[in-house]
């Protein structure tokens, strides 16, 4: 979980055991990965994260080659559209998005034994993609690595902000917005905020699924989502104002 601290700018970690045990549902069958000879992969931490099962458990080859292909084709590939769009909204670059999706699928295949057939493949894949993004892309992105959460938090928790927040943005002005404006508003958010909006509003994940994908407690999902929406609303409001509403 070392890299997780990197990812979580608030420094928050699991606040209770419930979250921790919940989280294991996606990874409970994996142990030491049996594929360490893949020298092309430099991302040990990511693999640790994927295979963070209790120590001592050894990965069982639970699927035959044929079963693996069936799962890969039947449960993983159907999500490629959502995966690619998620990757693009994280990286803002078509080639990077492509690489990220490809890398995610190769990892998913490599760790397929830790996937339980019939469980939530989409959430599992999104989790791998998110981790790959943090490891590989976020480091080299120009985006500021940290948001000052304290600033944001205190601002949005203040009474004034709440009141201001709820006035003067009108449904009609939202309806008149064009895709580019909505897209720019979303893209202007820091990656952590953008991510929760994508997962919740575009992909329809539940809070519980989001908690697993992001490795954060549900309470953090809720508060981050709340802040993200307020920031988004701010952006939309300024577009509305520039449109003369």
């Amino acid at each position: 979980m070392i890299e997780n601290e990197d990812w979580e700018p608030t420094g928050q970690n699991y606040s209770d055991d419930e979250d921790r045990s919940e989280e294991n549902r996606y990874t409970n069958k994996s142990g030491e990965d049996d594929d360490n000879d893949d020298s092309g992969d430099t991302n040990d931490s990511d693999e640790d994260q994927l295979a963070d099962a209790p120590e001592g458990e050894v990965t069982v080859e639970r699927y035959s080659e044929r079963q693996k292909m069936r799962i890969f084709d039947g449960e993983f590939l159907p999500h490629i559209d959502a995966m690619y769009n998620f990757a693009f909204r994280l990286t803002f670059d078509e080639d990077d998005a492509k690489d990220l999706v490809q890398e995610t699928y190769l990892k998913a295949f490599r760790f397929i034994n830790s996937f339980e057939e019939g469980t939530n493949a989409k959430a599992w894949l999104f989790r791998i993609l998110k981790n790959s993004f943090i490891n590989d892309y976020r480091k080299k992105s120009k985006e500021p690595a940290k948001v000052d959460y304290n600033d944001v938090e205190s601002y949005y928790n203040s009474e004034d902000a709440q009141v201001e927040m709820t006035t003067d943005l009108r449904v009609e002005s939202l309806r008149d917005m064009i895709g580019d404006e909505v897209s720019n508003a979303l893209n202007s958010l820091a990656v952590d905020f953008r991510t929760v909006i994508i997962l919740c509003d575009l992909e329809g994940f539940t809070y519980e699924e989001m908690a697993k994908i992001l490795d954060i407690p549900i309470g953090t999902v809720r508060s981050r989502l709340h802040r993200a929406r307020n920031l988004l609303k701010d952006k939309l409001r300024s577009y509305a104002q520039s449109m003369g509403y």
């Binding site: 080659e65 693996k68 292909m69 890969f72 590939l77 490629i80 559209d81 690619y84 769009n85 693009f88 078509e94 998005a97 492509k98 999706v101 490809q102 699928y105 190769l106 295949f109 490599r110 709440q162 009141v163 709820t166 006035t167 003067d168 943005l169 009108r170 449904v171 939202l174 309806r175 917005m177 064009i178 895709g179 909505v182 897209s183 979303l186 909006i197 919740c200 509003d201 575009l202 539940t206 809070y207 809720r222 989502l225 709340h226 929406r229 988004l232 609303k233 939309l236």
Partner: protein, 85 residues
């Protein structure tokens, strides 16, 4: 609709904002949902909030352009997987 100030109209504004998120995200309990839907019938600021927040979700879903997946991506992935399989 001419009144825009919402202070004092709703004594539980913060709580309402919180429940609103849960309702729209499909995460509210039945009790919370019932409370909220009843509440907005008599609280204009909350009713307006409800409409704005739902519309934001609507435009996110309907107006954001979906990127088509590059045509060769699945082929490339599949062939790489076959190499390792």
């Amino acid at each position: 609709m001419e009144k825009t100030d919402n202070q004092g109209c709703c004594s539980e504004h913060d709580r309402c904002l919180e429940i609103l998120q849960l309702v729209l995200d499909g995460e509210a309990s039945d009790t919370e949902k019932e409370y909220y839907m009843h509440h907005i019938e008599e609280c204009m600021p909350c009713y307006r909030n409800y409409n704005i927040e739902s519309e934001i979700r609507n435009i996110l879903r309907s107006k954001l352009e979906k990127k088509p997946v590059p045509t060769d991506l699945v082929t490339v992935i599949r062939s790489k997987v076959n190499e390792t399989a």
